[in-house]
Symmetry: C2
Amino acid sequence: MADGRMAQIYGGENLLFLTDEQLRQGIEAMFFAYRGFTADPDRILADLAYGRAHHRAIHFINRAPGTTVNNLLALLGVTKQSLNRVLRALIADGLVESRVGTSDKRERHLYLTDAGRALESRLSDAQRARMRSAYRDAGPEAVAGFRQVLEAMMDADMRRAYVRMRDGAA
Amino acid sequence: MADGRMAQIYGGENLLFLTDEQLRQGIEAMFFAYRGFTADPDRILADLAYGRAHHRAIHFINRAPGTTVNNLLALLGVTKQSLNRVLRALIADGLVESRVGTSDKRERHLYLTDAGRALESRLSDAQRARMRSAYRDAGPEAVAGFRQVLEAMMDADMRRAYVRMRDGAA
DNA sequence: TTGGAATGTCAACAAGGCTGACATATGATG
DNA sequence: CATCATATGTCAGCCTTGTTGACATTCCAA
C-alpha cells in the first residue's frame, strides 16, 4: 500500500477520507495516549517495587474475584511462568489469596485481600481520574466513538473476552 | 474515590453519567485495544530479531527525517543508553544512517536508508491496515471522538509534541 | 580558556517477557 | 483400576528493553 492511497468511509451524512497521513496520526495518538494512560499507576507502583504486570493481575482479579489462573492467563496473554512469578510475589506480600477449588481441586481461585483491594483502589482511582478527565474534555459523543474504535481495534478473541467481562459485570 | 461515585458530563443535548464501571470499561478497552494495535508489527519484528523499541525508532525517524538523537529521546521517553543500543543495531544493519550535524557537529541527524524505509513500510502497512479497518467498522463520527479522547488522555508535554508533529507533517 | 551541552560507550542490574523440562495433584475415561 | 489429560507450580536459562552511574569525546559559547 503506497503512500497517498486513500480509503473512504461512508457514514450518515459524513464522508471521511482516510489518508495514510490521518492513519499515521491515529497511530501516534494511540502511542502517546497509552503512555499517559499508564503514567499514573506506574508512578504509584514504582514506590512499591511492583510493575505493570502486578497492576494487570490485581486489576483482573479485582474485576473477576475467584477467577482461576488459567482464566487470568488467557486475559493477560502471558505464559504461566511469567504470571506465576507475579502471583507468587503478590501472594507472599499478602495482597492476593489463592484458594484451592471446591469442585475441581486442581484449580486455584484468586481473590484480593483487604490490602490487595486497598492497592487496587489507589491504582484504579488514579487511572480513572485520568480517564474521567479525558472523557470530560472530549465530551460524551467523543466517548462513544472512542469506545467503538477501541473495540474494533481488538483481536477477535480479545474482543470476545472484553465484551463478556463488560456485560458480565454490573 | 469510592466505588459508586459518578461524574457527569454535559455536552450539547446529551448528558452522560460516568460511573466507575463505565470508566473501568474504558480502561479495559484501552488495554485490550493496545494489544491489537501492536500485534501485527510485533509478528513482523519477531522474525527479524527486532522489538517494539526498534519499531518506534524507525517510525519516528521516518516521520521526521534528520531528527536528532535528543529529539528522538524526548519523543520516545527513554534514556539515551536504551535508545543508543537500538540505534546501534539499526545502523549496523544498514537501516538507519547517522550523519554528523553541519551547523552543530555534536548532533547526529538520523535518516532511514532504502532498506530502513522498506521495513518501515512493511510495519506501517500492517498497522495502518488494522487502524483503517477499525475506523471503517466504527464510522467517521466515532473516529473523531476516538482522536479527541486519546488527545485528552496524553500528558501535556506529549500532547504538545503530538500536535506539533501532526500539524507539521503534510 | 573554560564550562557546559550533546553524544557515545561501557558496565551492571532489574523487570518481565519467553521456552523447555519436570513434578504434583486431580479429574475424566475406558 | 489404570491411564491419560488438565491445572498448576517451579526451576533454569535466555532475550529485550528499560534503568543508573561513570567516563570520554567533541565542540559551541561565554
